[in-house]
Symmetry: none
DNA sequence: TATGAATGAGCATTCATTCAT
DNA sequence: AATGAATGAATGCTCATTCAT
């Protein structure tokens, strides 16, 4: 039955979105199952029903994180733009991305003390790293520096995104782009031919 | 009565340290007042006594954050070292600093949804920023770029520290230093004379 | 329409058996309607349908008890065997009867606090008692002792069956028979002629 | 501090009594923590406090059972009376003992599906059995029959007590005594000298 | 008639907070 | 000043029950 599976997927997305909104509204620790349910337009019982018996609050919140990771990783790579420009697109430049960053940051605090979340984080960063390495290789970064450059670049994005999320009024979109460029451009550019 | 005040200061520091240990052990959301009390070797009642009636859990946790901010800001500035080297010293290079970073990150997630914590964060970053601007000015960074460079530098430190805290095995101290240097060195170095 | 009624009877028996298995697996208090449904190979909704609207969990569990009572009472009386031997056949001598005893005992705990169940119990014991009285009369027990002997005999069976159910490894079938015989034989045998 | 330990013991007994009353009033499955608390004149929070964190409803109910076992085992053995007479004293002859039997029976239904309770039951019956063996030996039962006689006797007591608990109007105290005597007397008496 | 998604009440449990000692 | 027992509100969770499909 096709509609069944489709329904599940749609519902899953709707629930994830609701969870994200709820977390963004009340904080990761302040959010109650009722809040997610209200945001999703259903009762807490319905949540349990969807997630199956035995799954609890954690499962619901984890869904929000998985949705964010999925969206972050599914951002289309535009071959016409430089790696730096593409990375900049993942910054909290508009309200949608700001919200994702806020929730993401909230989960980072928890990932430090939660093995399962830490693993999810780890998988996400590994994926991002691999993708970036590929792009950088295509952009002419020499192989022996690929790993380090990618690592530093991801850290730079995280740093700028974090600061911008915490003090949005100090970090308007344009400034975020400039600051990231200031950090990344020299990093990506400085690969002189190994001396002959 | 001098001893009284001194006692209070000592006690305050001890409680803050206990709170930090407790948060690091159980996470910011998992920590209970009992845990802090146990870590401090007293009962929850004693905590209330110290913080005064009406003050609650938040006050205790806030103390932990204030202590961390205080320690971070009180790091001695060594005039013999470059700004980049000094900034590197604030990275999670050893267990003590790793712990402070973990707690700090945990609080960041909460600061996004808590006005008071956000203000505390803001004050801390303002102080760090000012201090860095001063150091950079002394290091020859031209005035018109000071603000931007300092902002970017702090973001870079945050990015590296964050990544290193979340995946310590990927970020041994030496790598943290290298990555930070890779990001900051070009930033601090490239200040050609404004074109005449 | 005969098949309809027959179907109902078959279905009823199947549901009762499912309920008994479910209770034996999870305990009378641990059993959920879902468990019974799963054991019966249907959904909880189907249960409601069978039992009619308004009937609930209690109705389902009661069905299990009624089934057991029915089976216990329908045990064929073998005129070739002594009353003691026949009574012994109702002990938990094999897995099937052990299961019935376990469920039966579980219901006894509830019958103490549930009027309806208590009544069902009462009816069952009355039937057993009457049947036993008849058998004992045939076996030569004088009328004036019939009631007392039957009462004591049923108590003995219950005692042995209870102990054997709770500690099956201490009460292998052979021992159950011996112990019951040790209690019943003197009881049934000792009926001297009332003194003239 | 002496009062502390004493208080705990007193409190424990009071809580156990409250739990027993609550169970007897609403059944083992119907009883809620609130009921026990109300019966004990405190709040549910106080119960948790007494039992410590992590202990839950089960701990409270288990206390009731332990109290009953303790009381049953601490019944003073009167050397002036025959074993049969002493055993009769453990029947549900008055309201206090009737209540204990009811709760005891309620727990038997659960012990069938709960390892921990089963163990507790097992220990109790082992103690009873040992004590009875000793008494029977003193009463002249030959060694080779001690075990079997004790086993059958306990089963008889259980049977009579069970029947009397379930249908108290059919089993007034006097009848309980008679029925038990009818079962036990031949058992205890019939130990002819092994034929020479 | 059957399904299973959804409801919603009921309950245990946790924990910050208070207060008598 | 300190203790820790007690409170009670808050919340997650479980299920029996209902109802639209």
């Amino acid at each position: 039955m096709m509609p069944k599976l489709l329904d599940m997927a749609v519902r899953r997305a709707a629930l994830a979105a609701a969870a994200i909104r709820a977390i963004d509204a009340r904080g990761l620790e302040g959010v109650r199952l009722v809040d997610v349910a209200a945001e999703a337009g259903c009762t807490t019982g319905a949540l349990q029903h969807f997630f199956g018996v035995g799954a609890g609050k954690d499962a619901v919140l984890r869904l929000a994180l998985e949705e964010i990771v999925e969206r972050m990783l599914s951002a289309p790579s535009d071959p016409g733009r430089s790696p730096a420009e593409q990375l900049a697109e993942s910054l909290p430049l508009d309200e949608a991305r700001r919200r994702e960053w806020r929730v993401w940051i909230a989960f980072q605090g928890r990932a430090l003390f939660d093995r399962a979340l830490a693993a999810l984080h780890g998988r996400y960063y590994a994926a991002i790293h691999d993708r970036l390495v590929e792009a950088l290789a295509g952009a002419g970064v020499p192989a022996h520096r690929l790993d380090a450059v990618a690592l530093a670049a991801v850290a730079a994005v995280d740093g700028v995104g974090l600061r911008a999320s915490l003090e949005p009024e100090l970090w308007p979109p344009q400034r975020q782009r400039e600051m990231l460029a200031a950090l990344l451009d020299p990093l990506f550019a400085s690969h002189p031919e190994p001396k002959p």
